[in-house]
């Protein structure tokens, strides 16, 4: 994968397949620790201990035709970049994926296009809460981008969330928030 945002999309696809009705994504970029933290939490079907123990092995998948390479590739990237990938899961309760990675590391892929990743996973059934925070060298929050799909759904009156115009509206909204965040950082 060329971008961390593509890994994020891959994990989000897993969340959706697990039947999650709520997915929370937290991205924190901390200048002081040179660390990017990506937390993805869902309330899907979860995994039992047996599956959880081998899910980072290549080609392990519960789905037909799937490659089973998404999480192993991300674990490899984390390991290369002085980071970690931690999975916690309980059957019937959901799964939490936490990635920590050293952003300045030579092998660390760029964060990439988070906006398109979030936009392309929106659907009618899933409540998605997204927050991207940037912390400066003192640990103060210098920028936040957030999205709660329930805020948008409240105004749609039956129009599906994955309607092309709604998706592009969300994309524009996120682009505007990122521009504002970059303006504040400068």
């Amino acid at each position: 994968m060329k971008e961390l945002a593509e890994h994020l999309l891959d994990i989000l696809q897993n969340c959706l397949f697990a039947g999650a009705s709520r997915v929370t994504i937290n991205l924190v970029e901390d200048v002081a620790t040179d660390q990017l933290t990506m937390e993805i939490k869902d309330n899907g079907c979860g995994m039992d201990e047996q599956l959880l123990a081998k899910v980072l092995d290549p080609f392990v998948t519960t789905r037909n035709k799937k490659t089973g390479l998404g999480l192993p590739l991300l674990a490899q990237t984390a390991q290369l970049c002085n980071g970690s990938l931690v999975l916690a899961s309980k059957v019937g309760e959901g799964t939490e994926v936490t990635l920590k990675i050293q952003q300045s590391h030579w092998d660390c892929p760029p964060l990439g296009n988070v906006i398109d990743t979030i936009t392309s996973c929106l659907n009618e059934q899933t409540h998605l809460v997204f927050m991207h925070k940037c912390l400066d060298s003192t640990g103060s929050v210098v920028g936040v981008v957030s999205l709660d799909t329930d805020d948008i759904k409240a105004h749609l009156e039956g129009i599906p969330m994955n309607h092309p115009e709604v998706l592009l509206f969300v994309r524009r909204m996120l682009e505007q928030e990122y521009e504002e965040m970059e303006g504040r950082e400068r």
Partner: protein, 122 residues
């Protein structure tokens, strides 16, 4: 919440489009979004499809996602489902090819044979 007026206008246009869809005229476009598809650029393809559909004012067309289709080397894979016609599976789709598929197949009804992987008879 930014631009509620804009969202309201979208809602009104979409309600019209949904009526068309309920009458059975709706086209569905599926993008395979497995790990292999994502790595091959399916996200960009999906955004290009959405962008082109809105540009051409075809908001009655729905873009959905599926998992890996089992032909990883042919990703990104896009399937166009037109009611009453055969499903057409396109492979090796790029952002530009996605725009061609919208213009030629969805708007003008002409299958883009250069990109076709398979046609599933209706």
């Amino acid at each position: 919440m930014k631009s509620l007026d804009e969202l309201k206008a979208i809602r009104e246009r979409a309600q019209q489009a949904l009526k068309m869809r309920e009458s059975g005229d709706g086209v569905v476009v599926q993008v395979a979004m497995g790990t292999c598809g994502i790595a091959a650029g399916a996200r960009g393809v999906m955004m290009a499809l959405l962008d082109e559909l809105v540009l051409r004012k075809r908001s009655d067309v729905f873009v959905t996602q599926t998992g890996c289709a089992g032909l990883c080397e042919k990703e990104p894979i896009v399937t166009v489902k037109v009611p009453g016609k055969s499903d057409v599976v396109y492979g090796g789709v790029t952002d530009q090819k996605a725009r061609d598929i919208v213009g030629s197949h969805i708007i003008n009804g002409q299958i883009v044979s250069d990109y076709v992987l398979n046609i599933k008879e209706a």
